[in-house]
Amino acid sequence: MEWEAVIGLEVHVQLTCSQSKLFSGAATAYGAEANSQACAVDLALPGVLPVLNRKPVEAAIKLGLAINAEIDQESVFARKNYFYPDLPKGYQISQFERPIVHDGHIDITLTNGDHKRIGVTRAHLEEDAGKSVHDAYHGQTGIDLNRSGTPLLEVVSEPEISSATEAVAYLKKLHALIRYLEIGDANMQEGSFRCDANVSVRPKGQQELGTRTECKNINSFRFVERAINHEIGRQIELIEDGGNVVQETRLYDPDRDETRSMRSKEEAFDYRYFPDPDLLPVVISDEWIDEVATTLPELPETRINRFITQLSIKPEDAEQIASSRELAEFFETSLNGYDRNPQLTANWVTGELLAQLNREERTIEQSPINTAQFAGLIARIDDQTISGKIAKQVFQELWQGGESADAVIEAKGLKQITDTGALEKLVAEVIEAHPEQAEELHGGKDKLMGFFVGQIMKKTQGKANPGEVNRLLRQLLTK
């Protein structure tokens, strides 16, 4: 039987743009000493009351605008009741019936180049819980409430995602938006962009949805893909063996590449949501929305289109570069230094630069090569002072602290030999040194071109202009 997967994603975005908590004036900085940023409100001491922070509300409006969603002009906070030691109030302040943002969408590009629109059901504000430490306190659990009350935006997609690859594409788009809007750092390792995936399978063509499971604990794009693929496989196997999928929460274990049961999903009514009587309805005026709209930066979608239409960059390169605001800015600033061949610049950004950054696990902000140096390098490749191969050597020199492409080329004598007279002499010498091969090449054994080009490159340490060498070889051999 042919199966199809139905996937919905819930992403908890920590609104790190906010210095203080959603309902208290305690700091939200990451990595502080345990419980040093947990005030009376976060600890739920008797008599405290929540006071709403404007910044996270504004962040939600920003995201709402960016995904073309409805922004509810009167939204309501609700209590979600459950007991866990890292939640001292016994309830989480969240939103239920009237989330601040609803009915938006994110467009993704599929591997075949097509576009698909994924609906965003809702995005609501809520407070984060604290952290439990299970293994350090001889049989007891330690609680750190620094994270308690940190503002989160939970972004819930429609179950319109059909594969792990689509899920990753959606997440990358959302991730880029959060970074562009500067509402969160979206650092997956630090937990400021956490993804839960609801996965179910059904026979292809069937309307009715299968029973879903929720995978938690997925903290990288790679793991999202693996966890979803694993879960789809597990469910299909289970059903084909005559079993039933149980609605439950499963935990993804990256070390063993498997999901395992965590707890049976509590039904929604078990949380006994009700409007929080400590908080009044949040009213968002048209004026406020308009004002926030004027602060939106150019968004990835617009930037990609501009790269394609105005700079004639290949769509896949445009998408890759614009997926990171910082990378796109590096690219554009480099173009300010040299703008005659944007595609060449794009090739070097997506090629050598990204590869080197990945090798050293650096972000673009930590690149030892600045945009002026990068532009200088591209200029020398484009005007054929150096070949692409030599350019990689110059790139490495710059990476190690070289001053500029020109200075490196000068100091190391890397300038490409384009002087026809000098090259002609070299080519003639090589032909003379290998009369048999020259004869065979002349006789039509074209494969030997590579041999001769190689000999000449060896003699010139790669500095000969390859196009010119080819031309001269043909010319001299057909004489």
Partner: protein, 95 residues
Amino acid sequence: MTISLSDVEQAAHLARIGLDPAQLDHHLADLQQILTLVEQINAVDTDGIEPLSNPLDAVQRMRDDQVTETNQRDQFQPLSAATEDAHYLVPRVIE
């Protein structure tokens, strides 16, 4: 709507309230009475009326995003039964 003893037990469990089994019948009767009142309220025709989330005729005020709290951990932690390395200690919880 009629509820049973198991509904009362379930509600008590969700609220983490320990009920004396001898008192269960009494709680059942109380809750049943409350639900009868709810039924009465539910019977009111509310078509076209916006749900009210708060009885006060006011909207939520917001504060500016500023850190106003200082670290008062040393005052808070003695209120707790046990702490270690600045963590609050609780009976072990593992899902």
